[in-house]
């Protein structure tokens, strides 16, 4: 049987897959395995599954195989485990051989998607993202409605500007995350920069599609978004969503086949830069002693390298900051990634519970993050644990202390 999809498996991918010695060191750190304890959800176990799927005509421990002769039943037996992963990349951060597992899992999902074996719920999600251009399946013309709800004045929508604020689906459509968009807008106004929203011309960044495995769909989103941004002549795209920022910065060039004509930054990088350059005045800021802690979003810290910037921003507005355990590059995932909410919400909540308990043990009063998905997941986690911790995005905390909201 010829399975053309397996042509996507590069020699370097094979090198990585065959370097795994199944030491199971990743098992100690994988948030999903920590909850489920199923071997196939352990990164080392998933590598074995992936190899079995790619190989054909040979037993599982023998390394010779015919690529493009993969076993379809191997995929069917393990579909759930392919998607029961937060794509947090922690397995990569603990792998003694530096195997870039995040890329392997993405490829694995792509293969499963191309066999049309992805879970029915993700088929639905994929379908509505492609038709509505957002991850929530509502009309994309409602994308900038939060501007009116929250009473923002003088916001430019789809007008030529230096900066495009790419809001992202979660901050655009989910009520609890719209405060992030609001705080970001107020902060950009406070900095006095020329910025615009894309409005309904902003389509899903493509991250959820890549998580499902639909690279073609993501390509379509990328081409549209790049065209929309470049038409406005923007030199910088800023997003408060690390997923959007990372996909635009790291994936769009290969998706569209050329370099971007604009820079991409996460909001924390821009805020930190503006504070250091004194573009944002900190006069009159209320630095109180409420105990604040910070959860590094995996997409931002581990996968994008933005680690010190949010901390510097937080420290401008508080006198009492305490680090979470398992932080920075080695952050423990909150469960909010990898489209886990759609695949196994209970798993997501169980992972979140463990993270919130760590914040609770610190006696933190405010748990901050810099990601809308993390905010929602951590809020769900605090409800589950019954912890009296306020969950805020860093930009919300910053805008509040600055007296902007």
């Amino acid at each position: 049987m010829k399975l053309e999809m397996l042509r996507e498996v590069s020699p370097f991918t094979m090198l990585q897959l065959e370097t795994c010695v199944r030491c199971a060191h990743c098992a100690e750190y994988c948030p999903v395995y920590d909850v489920l304890k199923k071997p196939q959800t352990m990164p080392g176990g998933r590598v074995s599954v992936m190899l079995k799927m790619i190989k054909g005509g040979a037993s599982s421990w023998f390394t010779f195989y015919r690529l493009r002769a993969g076993k379809l039943n191997e995929i069917e037996n393990h579909i759930k485990s392919v998607y029961e992963c937060a794509l947090c990349g922690r397995c990569m951060a603990v792998c003694p051989f530096g195997i870039q597992t995040d890329k392997l899992w993405e490829l694995f999902r792509k293969i499963v998607y191309n066999f049309n074996k992805h879970p029915p719920v993700l088929k639905e999600v994929d379908k509505f993202i492609l038709s509505t251009y957002n991850a929530y399946g509502v009309g994309n013309d409602a994308r900038a409605m939060w501007v009116d709800y929250l009473g923002l004045d003088n916001v430019k929508i789809n007008e030529p500007s230096d900066i495009v604020y790419f809001v992202g689906c979660t901050s655009s459509f989910k009520a609890v995350a719209q405060d992030i968009a609001y705080a970001t807008s107020l902060t950009l106004n406070h900095a006095g920069v020329s910025w615009t929203l894309l409005g309904e011309d902003e389509w899903c960044c493509g991250a959820p599609l890549l998580m499902i495995g639909d690279e073609e769909g993501a390509k379509k989103m990328a081409e549209h978004n790049v065209r929309a941004i470049e038409n406005l002549g923007a030199r910088l795209v800023v997003s408060a969503c690390p997923g959007c920022a990372r996909v635009i910065k790291q994936k769009y060039p290969s998706l569209i086949g050329r370099a971007l004509r604009f820079n991409v930054m996460h909001l924390m990088e821009l805020l930190d830069l503006y504070i250091r350059k004194e573009r944002i005045s900190l006069k009159g800021i209320e630095r109180d002693s409420t105990l604040v802690t910070y959860h590094d979003p995996c997409e931002l810290a581990r996968l994008s390298g933005v680690i010190d910037e949010p901390r510097r921003v937080i420290n401008t507005v508080t006198t009492s900051f305490k680090e979470m355990p398992e932080n920075r590059r080695d952050v423990r995932c909150c469960g909010g990634g990898g489209i886990l909410q759609a695949v196994n919400d209970e798993l997501r909540l169980n992972i979140a519970e463990k993270r919130v308990k760590q914040a609770k043990a610190l006696e933190a009063e405010i748990l901050t993050s810099a990601c809308p998905a993390c905010k929602i997941t951590l809020m769900d986690g605090t409800k589950k644990v019954g912890a009296k911790i306020q969950v805020l995005d860093v930009v919300e905390l910053f805008a509040r202390r600055l007296g902007l909201m």
Binding site: L6, R7, E8, V9, S10, P11, F12, T13, M14, L15, Q16, E18, T19, C20, V21, R22, C23, A24, H25, A27, E28, Y33, K37, P39, M42, G44, G45, S48, S60, W61, F62, T63, F64, Y65, R66, L67, R68, M92, V94, C95, P96, F97, G98, I99, Q100, K249, Q250, P253, S254, G257, R258, A259, L260, E269, L303, S304, G305, V306, I307, R329
Partner: protein, 255 residues
């Protein structure tokens, strides 16, 4: 006398004839693997469209990360006790293993113990240290085998390959050390391991253990391209690729 003759013949076969089979299987295995990867996977190539340039800080981070991961197995060095114990087992076994391999180069004349006279006596470097290191390797790999059997997580993803390799490794090092424990003759011994490459040993080891050592070691070499032992060849490449990404991500380039 008859046994001695048979043993001598066996040793001659193991170190005279078998290596040709070993080298052939090893090279064919590696070649076939590479051929499979490159010929049947004409992969979809994505170009690099990065606009960033390399900074000195990034390069420093890349080099540091490469050394930290490859030489020190730094990923195991964590506050988590299980990780630390795993590091102790793995690091000590690997370092000792490579020192012992390095030691094998001395009797064929690549280096001389006198070069390291400033470190320790020749007697210690050529007789005592390899013996101690052999036990360290044995201990490390034995504990890794015990871990694989006892730890539920590791056991759940272990297959024949995982146990077989550890057992063979243990046999190689056990036989290697037994050569120094069991009675041997205090006479020089020359062992031709390849045409023109002769190991000049100061003492004649136990031929039975030498035979076991030679066969087991060559099984490992032959099996390497077909098993997870392949990580010995592959890991510098995976670590290098990760280190480049590490330097780019955390060295201020953030692409």
């Amino acid at each position: 006398m008859r046994l001695d003759t048979s043993l001598t013949l066996l040793v001659n076969f193991i170190f005279g004839t078998l290596p040709w089979v070993t080298y052939t299987v090893f090279l064919l295995g590696i070649s076939l693997k590479l051929y499979t990867w490159f010929s049947t996977a004409p992969y979809h190539k994505t170009g690099s469209y990065s606009k960033t340039s390399i900074s000195a800080g990034s390069v420093g981070l890349m080099i540091g990360q490469f050394i930290y991961l490859l030489l020190f197995q730094g990923r195991f060095i964590k506050p988590n006790i299980k990780s630390f114990v795993l590091w102790l087992m793995s690091f000590s076994a690997h370092i000792s293993l490579f020192l012992i391999l390095f030691g094998h180069l001395r009797p064929i004349g690549v280096w001389s113990a006198s070069w390291f006279a400033w470190v320790a006596s020749e007697q210690f470097l050529t007789r005592d240290l390899p013996f101690y290191l052999g036990w360290v390797v044995l201990g490390g790999f034995s504990l890794l085998l015990v871990r694989r059997v006892v730890d539920r997580s590791v056991r759940s993803i272990s297959g024949f390959d995982d146990y077989f390799l550890l057992v063979i490794l243990i046999i190689v090092f056990l036989a290697g050390n037994m050569m120094r424990v069991s009675p041997y003759i205090h006479e020089p011994f020359a062992l031709e391991i390849s045409p023109g490459i002769v190991m000049q040993l100061k003492e004649t080891p136990s031929l039975i253990w030498l035979a076991v050592h030679g066969i087991a070691a060559q099984i490992l070499i032959m099996y390497m391209p077909f098993s997870k032992l392949f990580h010995i060849i592959a890991s510098p490449f995976t670590v290098l690729a990760y280190s480049i990404r590490h330097g780019r991500l955390y060295g201020g380039m953030k692409t």
